[in-house]
Assembly symmetry: C2
Homo-oligomer: 192 residues x 2
DNA sequence: ATGCTGACTGACCGATCGGTCAATATTTGT
DNA sequence: ACAAATATTGACCGATCGGTCAGTCAGCAT
């Protein structure tokens, strides 16, 4: 099974974009790394912006699919939140380029990056609201705050290692302890 | 008292870099905004990279001066945490370039940014540990996780507006409601 | 007044940027 | 077997990039 050149372009684009950001990465750079000509990139993708969007789409699809499945497979809402946080942590741990990609997207004011996971957010928010109505969680907080909280913390845990490791090295030498503390604090915070 | 052209270059560089990022900002753009010629920028600074470093340097120096009194005097530790989070939120709200600069520094794996606020962290951690010992907070979590949590969320609230506003516009149209929800979730999460 | 220095300028440079296009190689459907 | 479609290439474009350079000019010490 060999990888198509189009896929190679996508792969290298992700690697380079998440390493240096959109503006710092040139098409020729991607071409060189992917072992193709610059022209081929413009054959497969309309322009640099569209390439960026396609890269985003392609890696996000695999996460969204699994997360959606998780939503439907777990009945207990509290356990669902717990599992979602852990799943996202593991996903990012295995794909550390992704939070970097998003971080660059935010700094470069990418307006589209929120649209991508909005459906996912919508569903998550729905489930939390239901749990709130059932009295399983406190009713007096916006569900978006909860989701935004854990996405943000997990992303930054990986992106800002150079910062937080100065605060306490153990949160990186023992990542399980970190994510456990975070998850339990969060869960306890939303209990009635 | 008039501002020197060199200072104008630094000021405009700071504004432009934090708005658009290093790569998106050209020297000509800075020159135009600062009302000087491109050549003058190269007269005062070796090259674009050195300009960036100098901007960062002066910015972080200012930050370090202002963040020292972030932990106010307050007897009740729970109330202290509450106040500190709100204070940091307001601080960043008034200085939205701060989280952006840190975000850039993180992506560049700048080792210095962790040392900057390490004293701050140290003090916060100490206060939390005391509260834990007094039985006012649960003992089974690492204080650093708590501080890292709220610093991260507040920073990203401002940096990733383009992302999260797609999830729910109200967290930006009503920032108080957002930070209240977050603070209460956090406080409830650490209670015994 | 002369000479020196640092601030400042405009013209200019090679390199690289994103992107186009015509031509060629390769795969695919019939 | 052949034509249509798709993949791939290299030569090329105007614009802009970071950066250089020779030189002007004002202020200041001697």
């Amino acid at each position: 099974m060999k990888i198509s050149k189009k896929q190679k372009i996508l792969d290298q684009s992700l690697a380079l974009f998440s390493a240096y950001g959109f503006a710092h990465v040139s098409i020729s750079m991607i071409a060189k790394e992917a072992g193709v000509t610059k022209s081929l990139i413009f054959h497969h993708f309309e322009n640099k912006n569209q390439l960026w969007e396609k890269v985003k789409e392609s890696f996000f699809k695999q996460y969204a699919e699994n997360q959606m499945n998780l939503f439907e497979s777990e009945k207990d809402p509290i356990e669902l939140i717990r599992k979602s946080m852990r799943y996202y942590f593991d996903f990012v741990k295995d794909n550390p380029m992704i939070p970097r990609f998003f971080a660059y997207a935010h700094l470069e004011n990418d307006e589209n990056c929120g649209k991508l996971d909005q459906p996912l957010m919508e569903r998550g928010s729905q489930l939390i609201k239901k749990a709130q109505a059932q009295g399983l969680m406190r009713k007096d907080f916006n569900p978006v705050v909860l989701v935004m909280n854990f996405i943000t913390v997990i992303n930054q845990y990986f992106v800002a290692k150079c910062h937080f490791s100065h605060w306490d090295e153990t949160i990186y030498s023992n990542p399980n302890s970190f994510i456990n503390d975070f998850i339990e604090n969060t869960i306890k915070g939303i209990r009635p």
